[in-house]
């Protein structure tokens, strides 16, 4: 089963680039949703056997990351966004380039860290790091509040990918807690986005620079 993880991770990396290059909000959210679903599959594969709590965990991940949260985001887009473009601060081509550089860096960096080869696919660490970097890239170069939420999700996905290495170490309860926290965070963010759109009649965070020195 573990042999399938590498190809899936490659898909995840590709999805990062899709997210970076997406000019429409829908595409962006869909990319994240797919990433979430793949993550759920990988949980099962990483563990290698079907136990109840593994299935539960994978199910919860798929449900939350692949279905509930993307639906919430779509809802928010319908609700508040007039223009459905991504509105990047740094252009798409440049973002893609930066993403490539980030992935290369992640590969290089993970080379410097000793990895237990016998344990798991060697792609996990670089994939995780590059996804985190992609998340950061979207967070810092996209001006809409919703895109920032998506960036945060991608970042979290990156962290989750790393978590695949440690299925035994992280108890089920904690995993669930993490997921719950994530969900509530996105939920609250959604509420705030809603309020922002009412308050400023825009969800661009460039409006949100009233508080400064």
């Amino acid at each position: 089963m573990k042999d399938f993880i590498d190809p899936i991770l490659v898909v995840v990396l590709l999805l990062n680039f899709v997210a970076l290059g997406a000019s429409r909000l829908r595409t962006l959210i869909q990319a994240v949703a797919v990433q979430g679903i793949l993550l759920g599959f990988m949980i099962v594969m990483a563990h290698g056997s079907f136990m109840i709590w593994v299935a539960l965990m994978a199910g919860a991940t798929v449900a939350l990351k692949g279905v509930v949260i993307p639906r919430m985001l779509f809802h928010a887009v319908r609700e508040v966004v007039i223009r459905r473009e991504v509105e990047p601060i740094v252009g798409f081509v440049a973002s893609l380039f930066l993403g490539a550089v980030g992935t290369a860096l992640a590969l290089l960096f993970s080379k410097t860290l000793p990895i237990a080869h016998d344990h798991m696919s060697s792609l996990v660490v670089p994939a995780s790091l590059s996804t985190v970097l992609t998340g950061f890239l979207i967070l810092t170069t996209r001006s809409k509040a919703i895109t920032q939420v998506v960036g945060y999700l991608i970042l979290e996905n990156g962290v989750f990918i790393f978590g695949l290495l440690l299925m035994e170490a992280i108890p089920f309860l904690v995993e669930l807690g993490v997921l719950l926290d994530l969900f509530v965070a996105i939920f609250v963010m959604g509420i705030i986005i809603h309020k922002i759109s009412r308050e400023f009649s825009s969800v661009s965070t460039s409006m949100l620079s009233e508080l400064k020195e």
């Binding site: 237990a116 290495l165 609250v188 620079s209």
Partner: protein, 478 residues
């Protein structure tokens, strides 16, 4: 007992959601505070070790300090809350009360948890509980502050999660059973994989440092503290940051046990000084006195980290400083809140003569400023002085000199703003607002102030013992 400490506030939080009366609901907060304080005192005084869930929850010497601190701060703030909320009858306070209580429960969980994953969950939960508190004013500015707080805080904490995973992986890599249990990690620390440990420590420091408000991850702080009610500011600056500090200490402990002390200390000293310096830079010519308090908080977080990084006597000073600073911040934030209410502004352009307009809050604001900048005989004086002595004792003369220089700049920057606020003659429109200093609004401040001065004049033996225990616990010899 352990579970009670965590669940009682949560149960009361649920009760707060249910209670219909906007007027009576706030009284649940002091109620929870008193119960929590009572249980805390009982827990601290009982001799046998407190633990639960097979080592997932335990109260160690460090935890005792933080638990006592947050319980005291919350209780005092709790008594301030009903009077404060009575000033804002137009606001629905259902979520406010519930979140406040939830925050207490989660902070307690942070303190007690010895499982790093659980701790992460609890800290993220405090972030989420705080968001509605910041949004209490429902203004565009508070919205913006909440958004920034939530996003920056969540991103930071996500990094901390990655760091926790790195740490677990470092044990895995060393061929050990991967775990996130603190006690196990400390035990097996010498065998952990060094590169992973380094990377983990950096990630955790950045992650929880965001929560704690260390520069340059502090950017949410002025916005959040500036827009939140003074009460929330006091709890954030005294309680939540202490919890984040505690979580950094947990990982620092592992680093010391590894033994990777030199690396960790170097980074902590650097971040500490950097935070102090950044705070000093932004305190100069600061016109908004609540933002100024936020930078002061950044500065003091820097002092804490610096003291821990210096180690030994300075670490003792830093732990003491966590307590003294927390208590003094209570004075400052609550006074600032009162002044803000009375003037309807928090800019020094509008706020003048607070000592005339508010005879108690104005004076306590000034006193809080003097104490927090290290003037004897306040508590922070003793702790800051101890850290300085520790620095000189360790031969870190350059650090000591920088430390003093930054303290001087901070004093100048902060003093300019504070004196502008408290001295002079208030404008006529400021005097015409309805707000007056009422006993309920000032007695909590006076209690904070009394505690703060008391800690400067006399530190009880039990506290000294507790601090020594905590330092000994923290700085385990490999």
């Amino acid at each position: 007992m352990v579970f009670l400490l965590i669940f009682v506030p949560l149960i009361i939080a649920v009760a707060a959601l249910v209670v219909p009366s906007n007027r009576w609901r706030p009284w649940l907060i002091p109620l929870a505070g008193v119960i929590h304080l009572g249980m805390t005192v009982w827990t601290l005084s009982c001799a046998h070790p407190v633990a639960g869930l097979q080592g997932w929850l335990a109260l160690d010497p460090l935890g005792k300090l933080v638990l006592g601190l947050i319980s005291v701060i919350f209780t005092i703030c709790g008594f301030y809350a009903p009077a404060y909320l009575a000033l804002r009858p137009e606001r629905q306070n259902r979520f406010f009360c519930a979140c406040l209580l939830g925050m207490l429960g989660m902070m307690t969980l942070v303190v007690l948890s010895h499982h790093l994953g659980l701790m992460w969950v609890a800290i993220e939960a405090t972030t989420l509980c705080t968001a509605p508190l910041l949004f209490f004013n429902h203004s565009a500015r508070s919205l913006e502050a909440t958004w920034k707080y939530l996003l920056i805080g969540s991103v930071g904490i996500a990094l901390a999660l990655l760091g926790s995973f790195f740490l677990a992986y470092s044990s895995l890599h060393a061929g050990l059973v991967p775990t996130l249990l603190l006690d196990d990690l400390v035990k097996m620390a010498p065998q952990l994989s060094r590169p992973w440990l380094h990377a983990a420590f950096v990630l955790l420091l950045v992650g929880y440092g965001t929560k704690m408000g260390l520069a340059p991850m502090h950017t949410w702080k002025p916005d959040a503290y500036g827009e939140a009610p003074g009460l929330v500011g006091a709890l954030l600056a005294g309680g939540v940051t202490s919890c984040a500090f505690l979580s950094i200490l947990r990982f620092y402990q592992i680093c010391l046990a590894a033994p990777e002390a030199a690396f960790a200390r170097e980074i902590l000293v650097f971040i500490g000084l950097f935070s102090m310096a950044v705070a000093a830079v932004f305190m100069v010519r600061q016109r908004d006195f609540k933002r100024m308090l936020a930078y002061s908080s950044v500065e003091h977080m820097g002092i804490l980290v610096l003291g821990i990084g210096l180690g030994g006597l300075a670490a003792f000073g830093a732990l003491l400083h966590m307590i003294t600073n927390g208590v003094t911040k209570g004075v400052l934030f609550l006074s600032a809140g009162n002044i803000h209410r009375a003037y309807g502004s928090k800019l020094t352009d509008d706020v003048r003569g607070a000592m005339r307009r508010l005879p108690v809050s104005g004076v306590t604001f000034l006193a809080g400023f003097l104490i927090v900048t290290g003037s004897p005989p306040g508590g922070p004086f003793i702790s800051e002085f101890t850290i300085l002595t520790g620095a000189i004792n360790g031969g870190h003369y350059a650090v000591a000199a920088l430390y003093l220089a930054v303290l001087a700049i901070v004093f100048i920057g902060m003093g300019t703003t504070v004196l502008r606020v408290v001295q002079g003659v208030p404008s006529p429109q400021a005097a015409s607002t309805a707000y007056r200093d009422r006993p309920q609004l000032v007695i909590p401040i006076l209690i904070f102030l009394g505690l703060s001065i008391l800690l400067g004049l006399y530190i009880p033996n039990s506290l000294t013992t507790a601090l020594h225990d905590a330092v000994a616990y923290l700085e385990v010899k490999p």
